[in-house]
């Protein structure tokens, strides 16, 4: 259990699942949720390195903390954009937003 690799693989798993969500969810909110998974995977990495490798455990924690803050801000912005889109397009299905291409 207490090996670094375990944590890293969990984080890799989370990261991949996040990516998969981003790539296949059509619901924008679903995509946003998947993005949160990405950030969490990175956070988990920081915490794991913090625990096993770093000289000073403060750094990882603080990074994780800030990332959470940023994630919150990001979620707020993302949601507001999604809402704006919804009001104009009456849908939050990303597959409907295909006007710009080529």
């Amino acid at each position: 259990m207490n090996s670094l690799s375990t944590y890293l693989i969990i984080s890799a798993l989370l990261f991949s699942m996040g990516l998969m969500g981003i790539l296949q969810r059509r619901n924008l909110i679903g995509m946003l949720i998947s993005v949160e998974l990405l950030l969490n995977a990175a956070n988990l990495n920081f915490m794991a390195f913090n625990r096993f490798l770093a000289p000073d455990p403060v750094i990882g924690q603080i990074i994780a903390l800030f990332v959470m803050g940023l994630a919150a801000a990001e979620a707020a912005i993302g949601l507001s954009i999604i809402l704006a889109l919804y009001r104009k397009m009456h849908s939050i299905n990303i597959e409907r937003a295909q006007r710009l291409k080529g």
Binding site: I94, A97, K101, G102
Partner: protein
């Protein structure tokens, strides 16, 4: 500059040769709109040239060759000199050219009167005179080549003088291109010499050749290549067809360029570097064969045409072939002498014909005869003198030169050349007198009534300016007739003058002269008389058929009339290989393959732009997928 004025000889050369150029420039730039002034300038200039030529001939009569030379430019080890080389040959030629050009220009005052291109005509005449005179006294082969080309250029302009006539411009082009073919060979020969020998000075070349200073392979190849130039310019065998076409030009032009002087330039060049040529027996053999073929071929052509000028054109080719034969057989003097006499009588013949043409506005000998050609007494007499000279009848000049040539040929081990020459002499006499008899004794007598009308209309014409125009034409003709009469009797002075200094260097040139005996003279004369007799039988006597024996052989007639199909052959091969073949092939290649390839690359680029633009689909997740995949591949790449 100073030397120019202190040396009267140099002054004479420079003035004599370059005044015509000046006159051309003045005419083209300033006096185009004043025909009279133009002609005066031009005639004045050529008079100076003629006079200075005669002066030089007289002054340097017995002197050793004179050479003026200055460096034109140098490139690397190649030194190109500009200079004059005055030896008997060039002095003789200078005089011939100067005098005949002068006579022709005077003649033209009458012949060309009233032509819209009068000024232009004189400009080109001056251009020609300048180029020809310079070519004659050029000190090096390169310089000779340059003026040689300029002469060709003048010929191009003069042939195409009536450029609104399609055939005239076509003939000009043909003349230029055919000459070009020969000239490229000549040019290559010069390059070959530059590479192999390094010097193009005429005395140097001759000296080196005579003293075996040149490697044989360089010499033979160079001689053959240079001989290509002779073939082109003097209308020898494969390239002979341009000259008859060149008769599209005004008659004085034909007289001057295409019989007396310019076409003789090839022969002149041959004799110029005669020692060089004769150092290569192979080249001489080729030249002999080509000369013979030319002479016979064009003789046959002359036998069937009814065009006055064509007859003399073919005859010119034929006589040039004869000169080449003479030279190639080693008869330096015979060749040059024939060149001299031929210049006189052929110019005479053309100018006389010109008077007829001018009078009757046709070239057809039958029509001229019918309309009363023989009424024009002076030209009729003169043309008869010319024809006699051409046929080699004693005591006209042609007799002497022809005898000399026969003598040279008789000295050849192979007698076939002699036989050919005799055959040629028969033909010459035949076609000359065929023409004369056509004029004198037209088929159905002279159409009096028509002539009355014509005479009447031309009477007023005569009264208006017949005097001036007629005499402007008649006087040169008479002078030339006189020359043709007397020239033969100065054979020995000329021979002495020409050979005097060469004889030691090259014994062949002299020795061949005395190969003949009495019987040769008899044979020559009888050949001429035979031809005349046949012509008399067919055309001259009362009740003659006036058809010519060749008309009984239609196939042969056609062959001769169509110039042995040479033209058709050239036309066809040009059309097939150049226009139809390479040109269209290359044009297609240019359009389709090269340009098509370039355009194809552009289309491909733009097409791939369209293709790539699908990567940027409107669907966000596909884009993201691409991005993630690319990142993943990058990570994997770095991992392994």
């Amino acid at each position: 500059m100073g030397a120019l004025f202190h040396d009267p000889i140099l002054l004479a050369i420079v003035l004599g040769t370059n005044l015509p150029f000046l006159s051309m420039a003045v005419i083209l730039l300033f006096t185009r709109s004043n025909p009279k002034l133009s002609s005066q300038i031009s005639v004045g200039a050529i008079l100076v040239s003629a006079v200075s030529a005669i002066y030089l001939l007289a002054k340097l009569h017995c002197a050793s060759p004179l050479q003026y030379q200055t460096l034109w430019f140098s490139s690397d080890k190649l030194l190109i000199a500009f200079g004059y080389y005055l030896d008997p040959l060039s002095l003789l030629m200078l005089t011939i050219v100067g005098v005949i050009a002068c006579l022709v220009q005077i003649y033209s005052l009458g012949y060309m009167a009233g032509d819209p291109g009068y000024s232009r005509y004189y400009a080109f005449q001056s251009l020609f005179a300048w180029a020809m005179l310079n070519m004659v006294i050029a000190g090096s082969m390169l310089q000779l080549f340059i003026y040689w080309e300029m002469v060709g250029l003048a010929s191009y302009f003069l042939i195409g003088f009536y450029y609104e006539k399609w055939s005239a411009s076509q003939a000009g082009k043909k003349a230029f291109v055919m000459n070009r073919v020969g000239d490229v060979g000549f040019f290559l020969g010069l390059i070959w010499l530059v590479i192999g020998f390094g010097n193009l000075g005429i005395p140097e070349l001759n000296h080196a050749a005579a003293t075996q200073g040149l490697p044989q392979h360089v010499l033979t190849v160079a001689a053959l290549l240079i001989f290509c130039g002779v073939i082109g310019k003097s209308a020898q065998f494969p390239l002979l067809t341009w000259l008859p076409d060149a008769m599209e030009g005004p008659t004085p032009v034909s007289a001057l360029l295409h019989s007396a002087t310019m076409v003789a330039a090839g022969v002149y060049m041959f004799s110029r570097i005669f020692p060089f040529f004769s150092a290569s027996p192979d080249a001489m053999a080729v030249a002999l064969a080509i000369g013979t073929i030319t002479m016979l071929l064009s003789g046959t052509m002359a036998m069937v045409t009814y065009d006055l000028k064509q007859v003399w054109a073919y005859s010119t080719v034929s006589q040039l072939g004869m000169m080449v034969m003479a030279l190639a057989a080693g008869g330096y003097f015979a060749g040059v002498f024939h060149l001299t006499t031929h210049a006189g009588f052929k110019a005479l013949l053309f100018l006389c014909s010109g008077i007829f043409i001018h009078e009757f506005h046709t070239n057809d000998m039958r029509i001229i005869g019918k309309k009363g050609g023989r009424r024009l007494k002076i030209p009729m007499a003169c043309i008869a003198v010319g024809a006699l000279a051409l046929s080699g009848v004693f005591p006209f000049s042609g007799f002497f030169s022809k005898e000399a040539i026969l003598g040279v040929l008789a000295a050849q081990p192979n007698k076939i050349w002699l036989a050919a020459a005799l055959l040629g002499a028969v033909m010459t006499a035949y076609y000359s007198f065929r023409l004369i008899f056509h004029l004198l004794f037209p088929k159905d007598g002279i159409e009096e009534k028509q002539h009355e009308e014509h005479g009447h209309s031309s009477h007023g014409h005569e009264e208006d300016h017949h005097g001036y125009i007629f005499w402007a034409m008649a006087i040169p003709v008479m002078i030339l007739a006189g020359v043709s009469l007397v020239l033969g009797f100065v054979e020995h002075p000329i021979e002495h003058f020409l050979i005097g200094h060469i004889v030691e260097a090259h014994p062949v040139a002299h020795g061949a002269e005395h190969g003949g005996g009495e019987w040769l003279m008899i044979m020559g004369v009888s050949a001429g008389l035979l031809g005349i007799a046949v012509a008399w039988f067919e055309f001259g006597r009362k009740g003659a058929s006036r058809k010519g024996f060749l008309s009984y052989f239609p196939a042969v007639w056609k062959l001769f009339d169509r110039r042995w199909f040479l033209d058709i052959f050239y036309r066809k091969s040009l059309d097939t290989f150049v226009y139809g073949g390479l040109t269209s092939l290359f044009t297609k290649n240019d359009r389709r393959v090269i340009d098509g390839g370039i355009d194809g690359i552009c289309f491909f680029t733009e097409g791939s732009g369209r293709l790539f633009s699908f990567l940027q689909s409107g669907m966000l997740q596909y884009n993201l997928l691409m991005m993630v995949l690319a990142a993943g591949v990058a990570v994997l790449y770095l991992l392994f």
